[in-house]
């Protein structure tokens, strides 16, 4: 594929599944030539607010808020192939739905940390597209 680039990779672990990005890139057309970049940008713009919602929710033990934010972040992360982050969010979402956020549930720092890796990988991706 003409626009394809090597995926951003960290040593020992894949932060982003490049196949997911490829699938989105394949939807691009003359009508929407920068679809992937748009989707990535939307993700990068909206995620900090979700993490903030998650943090506040955890501080207040507001399970509904946690559930909604975790679900959204899981969904949008999975969409872009951020499997590890999506999995972390899935575990938080399930716990919130069950009403019990115990010590085994990933904490906000873990999620922030992983998002940092995802963001860097996606920004690198945007850089190659620009």
């Amino acid at each position: 594929m003409p626009g394809s680039k090597p995926a951003a990779v960290q040593i020992g672990r894949e932060v982003i599944d490049s196949a997911a990005l490829e699938a989105i890139r394949s939807l691009q057309s003359d009508a929407a030539p920068r679809l992937l970049a748009q989707v990535v940008q939307i993700y990068l713009d909206s995620t900090p607010a979700l993490i903030e919602q998650l943090r506040t929710g955890m501080g207040n033990s507001d399970h509904d808020a946690i559930h909604a934010a975790a679900h959204s972040l899981k969904s949008s992360s999975a969409n872009l192939g951020a499997k590890t982050l999506a999995d972390l969010c899935r575990r938080v979402e399930m716990a919130a739905r069950a009403g019990w956020i115990g010590p085994e549930v990933p904490g906000i720092h873990m999620i922030e940390h992983e998002y940092g890796a995802v963001r860097r990988a996606l920004e690198a991706e945007l850089g190659t597209m620009a």
């Binding site: 394949s26 939807l27 057309s29």
Partner: protein
Amino acid sequence: MRASSATGTELGAIAPVALVVDDDVAMRLLIRQTLERLGFACHEANNGIAALERFDQIAPDIVLLDVLMPGMNGYAVCSELRRRPTGAFVPILMLTGLDDPDSINRAYEVGATDFISKPINWGILGHRIRYILRANQAFSDLEKNRESLENAQRIAHLGSWEWELPRDTVRWSDETYRILGVAPGGVAPSLSAFLHHVHPDDRHAIQESMRRLLKMREFVGQVVRIRRHDGSVRHAQLQGVRHLDSAGSVTRLSGTIQDVTEIKEAEERIRHLAYYDGITGLPNRQFFIERLQQALVHAKRYQRLLGLLSLDLDQFKRINDTLGHSAGNELLLSVSQRLSDAVRAPDTFAHDGKETVFGRDIGSTVARLGGDEFSLLITELTHYHDAAKVARRLLEELRKPFRVAKQEVFVSVSVGLALYPLDGDDAETLIKNAGAAMHFAKDQGRDNYQFYSRAMNATALEKLSMEAQLRKALERDELLLHYQPKIRPKTGEIVGLEALIRWKHPELGLVPPAQFIPLAEETGLIVPIGEWVLLNACRQNQDWQRLGYPPVHVAVNIASLHFRQGTLAQSVATALQKSGLHPSWLELEVTESMLMDSAETTLATLSTLKGMGVRLAIDDFGTGYSSLSYLKRFPLDALKIDRSFVKDLPRDAEDAAIAKAIIAMAHSLKLEVVAEGVETAEQLAFLQQHGCDLVQGFLFSKPMAAAAFHDLLSGKKLKTAAGGR
């Protein structure tokens, strides 16, 4: 080239509309892009409430719906959409989590068509949507087909039925129920349930068709009557076919039932329009000509007389012009009713007030040929002057005032008559000639009738007046009897008298029998006249006996019509009873031809009369078949040699031989022989020489009034005319 237009052709000329509902803007963007590549026009909503609003605005062909959204979630939206009439069949795809089987189940529960799990595999989403659309299209096509078939069947009143033989289950379509007058599913379908709704007379035919269907491929076009519970009757046409399995045995019968009541009624209306006049409801020209042609075929075969009357209203144009067309139509209708009533009236053909020779039905057809022209066909016509009688009656009826447009209106009619076979032997000629006669009637000053044959007009008039007067003769006692004696030549004594009718007309004087008896026979008046003769002859004879004169036979001539009618015995019994005369003094003279008419009933009638004790004589012998063998069969007492054989006796050798043979033959049958018309001594001598028992004729006496016999009877002897008249 735009991807949307390339794929647009795939889905049809008009771009299908999709509604994408997701709170995630990136998701909407990606889905929109996918759908637009497939040729969809996309609309978006980012929450449940907005989704419902959008749905109602755009009526999408497909909905992609996220489950988890702030506020109203996807399940609630889906349920809500399914409740809408427009949302019942729209494919709804729900976007669910792959790791969440509960959400997938719930999606189906709320009516989702299918689900798409997240994260969405963008590579195959397009295929999924395409597949769902195609399946939905097939489903809705099927549904539409079913609906349109059902509609077509309902409009055509066409129901169907199926009968699975092995399981003995019957299925009826909704329309089948409706044709039977039952709510769909209102009864358990079966053959016997079906037959329950069929007219009893038609049930057997259906059972027969079903039986036949087991042997034959199909049956078609059987029309039966359906009786609904509300009492109405419908006509239904049935068809059936059988279905075989691979082994060739019948497994299933199926067929249709169609309500053809309206079709039948329409056919009837069409037939009516084609054959009947719209204003009067009478047969039209077309129908009339066909009827006339049929009647002609019949009349030719059976040698019957037909009468055709052409009628034209004399003042129709004036009424139409002054009172208007609708009044004109009203008048035509009234005229047609009066015409129909007049020809149906039982006394139209009554000959004597109590006996109608050709009774109540004259086989008539009244038709409106167009404009103010009517026509009447009479098929049961025995005498042409009866046609004149009908014409007179119609003239009389139409002279009575009509009520049209709330006022009294007077019309008259001009009538032309043509007769088959006298005035033509085909429909066209007869109609033309009746029309010509009608125009002649108009020329004659309207309000009258004319025969096509001019000579008939005169004689018809004469006959009509004669008939009317003869009818009155009975009432006015203008008839009288003369008597001619029968003599035993050996002794010269009177042994009997033949009663002979005379008509003493107040102006014409004595009318000879030859002038009125044929008319009396034609008109049937002969029967009441015959009864009058019987009664008065018996009374006269009884009077003489009461006065002490030596008893004699009185002989009465019987008319063939009276004999044929079967009322003769009753008339005789009445005359005997009223007069008090002993039956043995009454003699009835019948002719050979009367005996020949119908031997069986003749024998019965004669036996009855004989049983009453009256004498029977055969009159005018020698003029008919003169068959000895049949004479033997009847209980006769006497035989009268016709005057034609007597006239030239004894000079004519042939007549002499015949007379001799008749006398010998009669004697061998033990019949008394009477010779009529004896006028000379030579004749008398010859007859006496050959053993003739009695003689009658001018040689002794012409027929005379009863009073003249007082002297003769007291002596009971008559000298010959030469000696004593």
